[in-house]
Symmetry: C2
Subunit: 251 residues, 2 copies
């Protein structure tokens, strides 16, 4: 933890951190994985530091894996936040105080930090939130009910969502956010939730099928009220191809 890092601070890039906005989808809601530590009454994005001989992308993978147990998922750098006053000495000192670390030992941590923002799309059900030790809680929170966050994390979160909305026009989304088998209405809800607006069912079906990444399964969802919707899965091969080549159309 922090103590360990401070004891080995030469092995970490000074003044640089990673923050991850981890999106999941459940109950037709867009969720964000957030952390609540005992030394602050505000929530925070999961983050970490960058080992000096590790790519920042790798460091982001480490953060993600550390909090979700997931690997090989969609992860993308979207912006770097470096306002001079984005770090508050009060906050860092409170943390040092909580751990009983003297201020001079904690100088590395209390200095000005620039943070690189990444966002990830993960499968809610496969995610096992993993708190580091007993001093924190890791939880999925509905993106509409996100409480006050520390520092500029609210801005980081908003920028991530904005970027995701943009990139929805450039790539297909869903492979990492939905279970293997899903229905078209579920996929549509996902798009609607990300975009924050309603889409027409018929037009959505046509567009999403035109991309050619969906396979209609010979199976219907069971145990549902009303008419049972068909199940679909992604054609992984074609999906990857489209991710590589990009989409032409938009939403």
């Amino acid at each position: 933890m922090l103590k360990t890092i401070l004891d080995n601070k030469e092995e970490y890039q000074p003044g640089l951190s990673i923050d991850c906005v981890i999106f999941g989808f459940h109950d037709n809601q867009l969720k964000v994985l957030l952390i609540k530590t005992k030394y602050s009454d505000k929530w925070a994005l999961p983050g970490g530091f960058v080992p000096v001989n590790e790519d920042i992308d790798e460091a982001a993978v480490t953060v993600l894996h550390g909090r979700t147990g997931l690997k090989g998922i969609f992860l993308r750098q979207f912006s770097t936040f470096g306002a001079a006053r984005r770090c508050s000495v009060d906050v860092s000192n409170a943390v040092l105080d909580f751990y009983g670390i003297p201020l001079d030992e904690g100088k590395w941590y209390a200095s000005r930090f620039v943070t690189v923002g990444y966002y990830a799309l993960v499968d809610f059900l496969q995610t096992v939130p993993q708190p580091e030790g007993k001093n924190e809680i890791v939880e999925w929170i509905d993106h509409n009910s996100v409480p006050e966050l520390i520092l500029d994390h609210r801005q980081i979160l908003d920028t991530a969502l904005e970027t995701l909305r943009m990139e929805l026009n450039l790539m297909p989304v869903g492979y990492n956010l939905l279970p293997e088998k899903f229905t078209i209405p579920e996929l549509q809800k996902l798009y609607e939730t990300i975009l924050g607006r309603k889409l027409d069912r018929r037009n959505f079906l046509r567009k999403i099928m035109a991309i050619g990444i969906l396979t209609k399964l010979d199976e219907k969802k069971s145990n549902v009220a009303h008419k049972a919707p068909n199940l679909y899965s992604f054609d992984k091969e074609k999906y990857e191809e489209v991710v590589k080549n990009g989409l032409t159309q938009g939403w």
Copy 2:
């Protein structure tokens, strides 16, 4: 310069730099402002370091102003480059050697750096390239004739252009790249150069006029071969409005 920075290294964010891809437009060519230093046979992007109590955006403005003498121009962060091996010890040692700085004094400089990439769009004719001291040359280079660059600067440049192409769909471009009065064919050449493909004259005119940011002047370009083209200027007010609200269409 470097010596001054090293003597005051506590005032700079360690391991963090700014690199600017400065685009200009002249002779129907997209130009990039590059630097050639005496201590390397390769060219480089203009860059700089980040004072600890300055926003990274401000630091980028400083770099830009330092090299071009320009202020208040279009500047945008596009990506952060943090591969572990993007910095070569050989390169930094060569620089230190050139300045006659002992290796131990130059430790700060020779450590691993992460760099934040910004790109700028500036008016070629208003730009006065400003070398720092006698050890460097600052020059506009046609983006098609960019020589080998140091480190990963080639990748940074390519990513910048890619981003610019993307953002052409989201915002109007030209206010900072063209002189006050310009012709439609000039503006079209600019778009063609950025996009790397030809556009239809008639369709271009219709689309660009539909945005509603151009004012047709009662004036024609003089001293030109063939039919004198009309001069236009940007309606600054509407231009800013569209920059704020974004475009809907694409190219």
